[in-house]
Symmetry: C2
């Protein structure tokens, strides 16, 4: 098996209303079944998910968390406003979002957004954002591609963030190896593989960060296209989530 | 930026004593600064980390865990024997290994190993294994390559395993973006990036599982070579590990 991966160069700074699909299709020639991987930052900007935190009413809870975590009260408040459940208050804020995903600081970005009072929220429905970009790319190029929107996440037990998928279209989130046979003919008990996160991680590596960062990566040569969308099957159900349970018992 | 990735084809079933570096170098032409990513399964087999669990003396603790988790007592015992600390007994066994890494079932593989009483342990010192393969590849080819040995790990909050690095040589585990500037010239507070896990994840995707699996992947075109080795900096120190703390409080 062979794959190539490349960054799409010269994507300009994204403004609200920008057509991401068009910006990509003007800068690279896509092929059928390419996997187009896009940083959530640029998707959020195009969707105008920028908020000012200057005049946010601050609760006592946010003030308290800000003090403990050494962050701005306005930022703590913005995170609390985005989360529908707080799983951990300190040493960092870990919340569950409306779409079910669990992330540090609600995935809010304080860097790479113009204006020091401004923050950037994750796309409100990143699966839907991915689907729209996929459709737009099909309209513009006639090519059927998969789209993955990424963020970076921390991990349990290990330092270092890695890319993760927050919204997908044209690809299935997981590959299920159960029922296939091992090298000695026995049926594998194993296991779902979080393939869209493996793709997101590698793309994140190519994207880089900071002012040299490039927010779009294309991975070519893998046959993973599928007419489906949605990240939800990747989210661990609450009753199977022992780490969530443990974090709750810690706060209790 | 552009990278290519390919599987090394026709690697035979590995036997104890096999020279992994030689098997790779005979099947592909490596270039300087290639990243050679190898499944821990084949490294372990070459190092003869196969153990029979048939006659393992079973403790009451192992019997109890086996019953709760619906696994074989011998397997539970083997996991307990490998772990120096048990972080979670049920619904799955999560232990810390001698080398500091934390993994489900101590990373023991029950598939893809000949003989139904046999299990495959992780390489005893996977960093050292990676260094030896790197040195062997240099001797055989004159090329300086990075080596990453991978396993698959579960993740917090998300279903689906992903590839992760368990041993590395010729590459630095993390990329540190702190101090670089964002698109608007502000200094990034962000963050270490677990690049070797991002590489391991993508390689895992290419490797596949089961009898069609190929255990060696080469990634070419990324300039990440560094004369260093060791995964340890990637392991979260105990005093910063809130999930570990939470899991302990759950068992207490």
């Amino acid at each position: 098996m062979k794959a190539t991966a490349f960054t799409v160069e010269k994507i300009p700074l994204i403004k609200p209303g920008d057509n991401i699909g068009q910006l990509i299709s003007e800068r690279t020639e896509l092929k059928d079944h390419d996997i187009v991987i896009i940083s959530s930052t640029v998707v959020s900007k195009s969707e105008n998910n920028i908020r000012s935190i200057r005049d946010l009413p601050i609760t006592e809870k946010a003030k308290n968390i800000a003090l403990r975590n050494n962050i701005e009260p306005e930022f703590a408040q913005a995170v609390l406003n985005e989360g529908i459940e707080v799983l951990l208050e300190s040493p960092f804020l870990l919340v569950r979002l409306k779409n079910g995903s669990i992330c540090v600081n609600a995935g809010i970005d304080h860097s790479n957004v113009e204006g020091s009072d401004n923050i950037l929220l994750l796309p409100e429905d990143a699966d839907e954002s991915a689907r729209k970009i996929k459709d737009s790319l099909f309209e513009l190029t006639g090519k059927k591609v998969s789209v993955i929107i990424t963020d970076t996440n921390g991990r349990a037990f290990r330092i270092g963030q890695t890319g993760a998928a927050v919204g997908i279209a044209g690809i299935i989130a997981m590959r299920d190896w159960r029922g296939t046979r091992d090298l000695f003919g026995r049926v594998l008990e194993v296991k779902n593989e979080g393939v869209v996160d493996e793709l997101a991680g590698f793309a994140n590596l190519l994207m880089g960060e900071g002012d040299g960062g490039t927010p779009v990566v294309v991975i070519r040569g893998l046959e993973m296209y599928h007419e489906s969308y949605g990240i939800r099957e990747l989210l661990r159900p609450e009753n199977e989530d022992v780490i969530r349970k443990a974090l709750r018992s810690l706060s209790a």
